[in-house]
Symmetry: C3
Subunit: 253 residues, 3 copies
């Protein structure tokens, strides 16, 4: 339960499935540069293995992911090209990779952690799952997470969940569309989902995901605009007093 | 209960909240030029006061809003720029103003009255609330209301509610996404919503609303096209016999 | 119950309503060139009769429609203009014709058969209705059906139904938005729907449908792109072993 310098993500492989376990419970699996590197590497690993059809993200500890760690130095607000927004590019890759991506959420997904789950093709919500976009409470806008939330929930529900910082349990998340399945027995639900996915080969799933992107195109500048909106708020002097309300050991959003 | 020349909207202010009460129950709070002026003025007032975070629309009487009054002279079908469509611009402002807009619907919202509620950021539906797009029954298309309904309900549900002129009570409206909350106790629900909203400052809510518009852009000509579609039907000779079915004292839609 | 050379669709007319009965139960009402011709002809007939307000599609036998017949020769993958994609153009016409289109689904709608139902303005699902997009199981992407499914269900639900080849009964189809009504008593539900539709004249329904297309425009190249994606997979050598799993007498998808 300490923020040891151990790898923040543990990978394991079984029958066409790569399991990526977020394994920094002492940091509440907050989004750090190291976590993003490790998750990008997990996608790389899955893509490089032609026998890998599914990538499962799950987490050890009470938190699936606590959102963006704010103790690290803030990047320049004049955000560069999209490639320099590793959170955005990770979410985008999760939606585009021919590997089917599954989030098994058994604890709290908060702020940017909601976006991480929402970007996956399938979200299974265990009995202890909670989803909460807390950004507005501290003066921020979840600009990078929202497009991934909204493609699941529709426009209005993504907006109200943010404005009211609603704390959604598994049934509420399924009702909102944020999760696909309320999994009373998470291990069993994951097993069944993997069996269902074993009937679709990687090339077909990839073609389906590519066509989804064609049918619902995102405009090419959205990533940069989203990054800029997030950073503009984060560096706004008027927002600092709000951010300072967050207890330091937990500065993530 | 008469259509007295009193102001159609009564304003009151308390702790960061401007309450705008539609107060022409004798006219069923139909959309008249006077009502539109008064509601535009309410938005002006809320925006001009930097301490105002929330604008609440509610109504006195059995009708939240009966839709567009048809006893007034019809504007030219060759509708001018969007600024000359005060109903459209009001709805658009309700979605864009940094002030959070809340509709507390306790009676009937009909035709254009549905659009007025739907354009608000949050819609609370009391036990007596009913939502009904009646336009198609009299030969019209709710062209200006539909975009605001559909961003809540999605495309198909906005369409079927119109085609079938469904009469939705509060639970049905919530199920359709037209309302956000079925408020068994409206006063209490409003109080709780205002407490939740008190945690988000005006600048943050404004940034969130601006980003919503960026994420779900409306094409720039939609307002004019919608106004033209509405007026084309309203002035179509073939539609007059259908309009004439509406009893004169209630000519609104 | 044989694939007799009889007409695959039987038309009948009553009080402003054209009933088109898919009548090839021996072929599970699979989408053949003959069925497409007959359904295009049904739309022509309905449109040519100014007194016709509603077109109802229903089916005889256990299958509403089993999807595209794969025993026919496959068209060239370098698909020509949209006019050469009669399945796509049929679905598109069902959404655009001023005649209100209603699918009464009492049996199984499979693969392309789901698209046929989904393209109708209203979908009534009887107690025996099942909806299943099976394409991914045999290496295909339901590229032409998906836009029509997604405008009902939203993006994510259309995607998961495809990826998991979910077998949706009537209540599940309504929950997903794929059907509008779970009709415990199909004949009665159809009668009530026709009564509701009798209050809206053809010109008004047509104006509403035209405005829907304006509000939710489809990009002009989508039909051709969808046709190409479907045919690319169908003719991909890697997909043939998957297609060969389908028993020959039932080769439809």
């Amino acid at each position: 339960m300490t923020g040891a310098p151990a790898a923040p993500v543990a990978l394991s492989r079984s029958r066409g499935v790569l399991h990526a376990l977020l394994d920094a419970p002492g940091r509440r699996n907050a989004v750090t540069p190291e976590l993003l590197d490790a998750l990008h590497a997990a996608v790389d690993t899955a893509e490089a293995d032609p026998g890998c059809r599914v990538l499962v993200l799950s987490a050890r500890g009470e938190h699936f992911c606590a959102g963006t760690d704010l103790t690290a130095p803030v990047p320049e607000p004049a955000a560069g090209p999209e490639a320099e927004l590793p959170y955005w590019t990770l979410l985008d890759r999760l939606t585009r990779t021919p590997v089917v991506t599954v989030a098994l959420v058994e604890g709290r997904a908060t702020a940017g952690g909601v976006g991480l789950a929402a970007a996956c093709d399938l979200v299974l919500a265990g009995p202890g799952a909670r989803f909460r976009l807390t950004e507005a409470l501290v003066g921020l806008v979840p600009a990078m997470a929202l497009p991934f939330v909204a493609r699941r929930t529709g426009e209005q529900r993504a907006f109200t969940a943010t404005l009211l910082a609603e704390d959604l349990d598994a049934p509420a998340a399924v009702a909102a569309g944020l999760a696909d399945l309320h999994a009373g027995e998470p291990a069993q639900a994951l097993r069944r989902t993997l069996v269902a996915l074993s009937r679709v080969d990687r090339s077909t799933a990839g073609a389906l995901k590519t066509y989804r992107s064609r049918l619902f195109p995102r405009d090419a500048r959205l990533g940069q605009d989203a990054g800029r909106v997030f950073l503009d708020r984060l560096t706004d002097p008027a927002v600092q007093p709000l951010l300072d309300r967050i207890p330091t050991p937990e500065r993530a959003v």
